[in-house]
Symmetry: C2
Subunit: 408 residues, 2 copies
Amino acid sequence: MKELKAGVTAAKGFQAAGLRAGIKAGKDNKDMAILYSEVPAVCAGTFTKNIVKAAPVLWDQEVVTQSGKAQAVIINSGIANACTGTKGYANCRKEAEIISSLLGMPREQVLVCSTGVIGVQLDMTVIQSGIENLVQAKAATAESANDVAEAILTTDTHKKEYAVECEIDGKKVVVGGMCKGSGMIHPNMGTMLAFVTSDVAIEQPLLQSILKEEIADSFNMISVDGDTSTNDTCLILCNGMAGNATLTDESEGLTTFRAALREVLIYLAKQIAGDGEGCTRLFEVTCHGASSKEEAKIISKSVVCSSLTKAAVFGKDANWGRILCAMGYSGAQFDPEKVDIILESDKGTVAIVKDGIATDYSEEYATEVLSGNPVKAILDVHAGEATATAWGCDLTYEYVKINADYRS
Amino acid sequence: MKELKAGVTAAKGFQAAGLRAGIKAGKDNKDMAILYSEVPAVCAGTFTKNIVKAAPVLWDQEVVTQSGKAQAVIINSGIANACTGTKGYANCRKEAEIISSLLGMPREQVLVCSTGVIGVQLDMTVIQSGIENLVQAKAATAESANDVAEAILTTDTHKKEYAVECEIDGKKVVVGGMCKGSGMIHPNMGTMLAFVTSDVAIEQPLLQSILKEEIADSFNMISVDGDTSTNDTCLILCNGMAGNATLTDESEGLTTFRAALREVLIYLAKQIAGDGEGCTRLFEVTCHGASSKEEAKIISKSVVCSSLTKAAVFGKDANWGRILCAMGYSGAQFDPEKVDIILESDKGTVAIVKDGIATDYSEEYATEVLSGNPVKAILDVHAGEATATAWGCDLTYEYVKINADYRS
């Protein structure tokens, strides 16, 4: 798979723009973005399972399930438009209508996303002029992809984008994406916001089912703080401009496209976990030898979510008791006396537990290993053949600082 | 209900001692304790649901289910005797045997508890001499109850004990208790360690079923960090020395005893939540108007466990969006647009959400309310009549500090 420079504008026929409209504090902060496909694209989406859903989530669910097509996505950061009642939803529809009239497409083909503070209404005067400027500015350049990736950030410390190229039917197919998210990250669907574009030709129902399956192994396997957001959204737009024969269930090229999509999704998901609020290191937990994939996921996610384990990673403390404890309360079934645990990073590898008991490892060397990045915990429960990986980060003073004082 | 001074020695016929054996670091730290009933007592217990169970948990489960009687409890802090394999279990049995031979009771009537670092074996020479000294020192005084309550602590900042007196059949009945716990607190049974003694006469199976029910509304409704320990144990010993007619299902006095037991359990559970590692305030969340008790529990516990909400309490930030978000991902069913939220403390009361939308409250006043202790969030989902309360604490820099560096 060949890696490309641009993110969401890497695929043919996609344009983007990101700029400051004036929603966020700080006069240099970009806070609005547009994504545009030159032709209508089939779209699919996965959304938060939180029953408190932001207005844009409700809007986008309708677009995806009813039209299954989209040509533009309008995004703002700074305000989440969540817990904003009927007025919030009306504002959301109004955004789609403004795009619709400016770019000449049905409002049912405009997706809308918001991220930021919960419970505050959008200022529609600011939004209206922001949209007008975005429509003027949109372009198919790598710079515009960068601008969009920047404009969607909140407490993130850096942009998150990625794109790969593959070949299907002798045609060059590109899959690119971007995402944002740093706190309130425990996706039960997409994460706060993720966007993938591709020029592949593919049937819409197939795209939706593939996206759902791949999300389960990527964004749904990360956690920063255990809090599932009200705005989690992952959208994919495929405009068919690569010129391949439309992918169906039967297509040979489907495996290639899925591999490209998976690579992009996992890359982006890891970017979010590794940029978790206040974190210093990405923490990757792989469970081998589980009796089913579901059990492997439950175990790896339980460890990656354990506050005590996360604090131990921050402290470079090879506290394997906490790892075993988190495996034990996960709800998965295994024999604690058959568990092996290995810690690994760019600084080395250390087997710390064999058959549920500490090995004779050196604490000093284990601390050295834990000072690397990413920190990996490799678990084997010797109960079967299934494997899964989850991603998170360490728990730091900075996380507390950020969240004790986010709104002010 | 009359509150008494002593804890576990308040009830007739109970003796205790706590002293330093030399397990913990720090030459003044008490680390071993004994609880002794002058006559065999019926006992009941609830234990961690973590499948990684410490050796003493396995031992005590056998005592409770097989003999249902106990006359002594031997406790150490500093080492949890968890993840210690067959040697750990043998050491546990050995402790019971030492007590058994010194005090002349079957080893099956000796309960054993440990708390502290996971994965380290007990030094049985230290344990043996500790037990010998405890057996000499045990007494039925308030001072000895204080010593025991101190000897069982780990990262706790203060002792936790309580006792009440009630009347059954014209007899004075006392229920007293103590507990410890500060981190790895998300009990799915008892909490790390809790002990209740009473002189009431009661049938053992009834005692077990009452304990289980009351634990569900007390210790199982607290959380410090979401990590369910390997050692959670709550034990109750009732020696019948109050002289009441043995309580059965039918007894009138049962309601009184349950009320006394509940008062002691909830008091102790709140003490643990309010002394959560690094915390500055107790956080109490009550959910009213739920469609069932189970739903009310799920909602209140989800809020009390939310890292973001806990950090907001620390920051005195009335971030109701995080509360609503945590309610939303709890898994309970309710209409977000019917939710009311009130914040309350000794500094005042403020209604911040009505029908799912922010009221026109003063942020300044809300911050004032949040500076009180305990901080209470009172939720109403207007879906039914059920109510439940959960207890936790705020998330602070100090929590991270303690847990980034616990073992060293």
